[in-house]
Amino acid sequence: MSGGPSVGPGTPDPAAATKPSQMRRPRQRLKPSLVFSWFVFIVGVLYFALPLYATLEFSLRTKVPFVAYRNVLFKDPQFSATLLYSFAVGVITIVVSLLIIVPTAYWVRLRLPRLRPFVEFVTLLPFVVPPLILVFGLLRAYNGQPLPLTHSELGLNVLIVAAYVVLSFPYMYRAVDAGLQAIDIRSLTEAAQSMGAGWTRILLTIIFPNIRVALLSGSFLTLAIVIGEYTIASFLVRPAFGPYLALLGRDKAFEPAAVTIISFGLTWLAMGMIAFLGRSSRSRVQVAGAR
């Protein structure tokens, strides 16, 4: 639980409700502080909303309203093709990441707690290695024998999934580990074993379903990161959504604004799902690194 941009213990909202006296006190004593609070809040909201409003306004500046949206959604085959590609890569990334992280986090908690610092260290490494450096490393390492992955389409697709799985490690591990912490894996495992279940069965029918909220949170976050990712996709020359958006931004006027709004909507959707799922559980909202 140390390091990484995960958001500290507990869910934010109930905690505020338990401290009514703290909330009331500044209001009674210091009127200027309330003014100050509103001022800070409004500046923050403006900072957040202005770029979005400006983008929306720009996307609607066309003579025929919504023509920019219609152009990208219905007339540009690249839009749906790249979005679909990124979505597919995202889903494969999530599956691979879950299949690696869940058994590892489970096993470390159950049998190998001494390895925990090492696992945590490795899951933090993607924060130390920016995507730009990771992709150059992959290009160099897999440019020749024995694994010339950069020489084929399939190989490049393998590399992009592998890179995204690595990027997802910090978020996925934290989400899964928090999920496992909330349930009693030891008793569940012993109960399953005493009824004759094997490890695969325990993981698939007991552990996975019991931490599904944590898994979904980690998955949506991974999806949000992967869908718009630019650096890795562009250097691996993949037909992904990020490079498409970058190209569009250079070539067209109103369409990039429309796609930016759509892409913001997708991010909001993914984060909204995490917040919705997290409401009834102890999993946390998490944030991605910079792009």
């Binding site: 140390s2 941009p5 500290g8 450096i133 990020g242 931004g249 604004a257």
Partner: protein, 304 residues
């Protein structure tokens, strides 16, 4: 940490269970470490070795690291570090004030969940779309640029003001968009962790609100605040896509320098690029380590 985990680490070893293959338990984590080795450690290892090789003869050399002192490379590091420092400190201060305003500042409670959700979205809304959104806001044809021009006659892009979003200052404004929400997300639970009893105790002893913050709350929050500021530094230092889309390499950044050396067309030196990359990894490692250490320290007080 769960009770089970702490109990185990206190004993120093996992409890002996009647499990099968007890000496093969390590095999359970092999897929994870193998994957990390293949797609994270090995690639970085290749870059590390490459950074000590001469680009034409492939002989071992330290020249690439000596070349890091070239003026344009020093400038790239300086600019990247400056942008990261400015956005980390401004984002950190503003993010803290915002979290404070919403949690303890007496604002209606529903604004708080609104702020948390928007912070989650904004801190993830980086890269190409963010760069585009700011060109529509503060670019030459941007909404705010036009509003200022038509409203109060202020021309941001005139020679007199000399502003452009495609510059270092422009980049800082854009980076702050994901920096301060990240601060809000990390610092909000820490502000929540301040116990009511501490405040009551200090008030009973006659402390003013200012004294409470100066001598109790801020010192307790300090590791979180410092640690998160360091994290913000790394967050902006490692960013590439936003800056590339916005400035197209006009602002000298380390990421641009690496790209130019490794995949540039004219004069490039791949191995110098690898040395640049290693320098970047070292700076990122220092910042993440600092964050981890300070976060661990802050958990001592704020564990609820």
């Amino acid at each position: 940490m769960t009770d089970a985990a702490t109990r185990q680490s206190a004993q120093g070893a996992p409890p002996a269970r009647p499990g099968r293959r007890s000496n093969l338990t390590v095999l359970g984590v092999v897929p994870f470490f193998a994957f990390a080795a293949l797609f994270l450690v090995l690639p970085i290892g290749f870059l590390f070795i490459g950074s000590f090789q001469d680009s034409s003869t492939h002989q071992p050399t330290l020249q690439n690291y000596f070349d890091l002192s070239e003026p344009n490379i020093v400038l790239a590091y300086k600019t990247s570090i400056e942008i990261s420092l400015v956005t980390a400190v401004l984002g950190g201060v503003f993010g803290f004030l915002l979290a404070y305003a919403v949690i303890l500042g007496g604002l209606p409670r529903f604004l708080r969940s609104f702020l948390m959700t928007f912070s989650g979205v904004a801190s993830n809304f980086a890269g190409i779309p963010l760069a585009l959104a700011f060109t529509f806001t503060l670019g030459l044809q941007g909404l705010v640029t036009k509003l200022l021009l038509n409203g109060i006659g202020l021309d941001l892009y005139s020679k007199h003001v000399g502003f452009t979003i495609y510059s270092k200052v422009g980049l800082e404004i854009v980076y702050l968009y994901f920096q301060f929400p990240l601060m809000v997300l990390i610092v909000a639970p820490a502000i929540d962790g301040l116990k009511r009893e501490w405040r009551e105790a200090s008030e009973n002893l006659g402390a003013s609100s200012r004294q409470y913050w100066q001598h109790i709350a801020l010192p307790i929050l300090m590791p979180t605040l410092l640690g998160t500021t360091i994290l913000l530094f790394g967050n902006s230092f490692g960013a590439q896509a936003t800056a590339y889309q916005l400035t197209g390499g006009l602002v000298p950044l380390v990421t641009n320098a690496i790209t130019a050396q490794i995949s540039g067309d004219v004069f490039h030196n791949v191995n110098l690029g690898y040395a640049l990359a290693m320098g970047m990894v070292v700076i990122m490692a220092i910042s993440i380590t600092g964050y981890s250490l300070l976060q661990r320290r802050s958990e001592r007080w704020l564990r609820s």
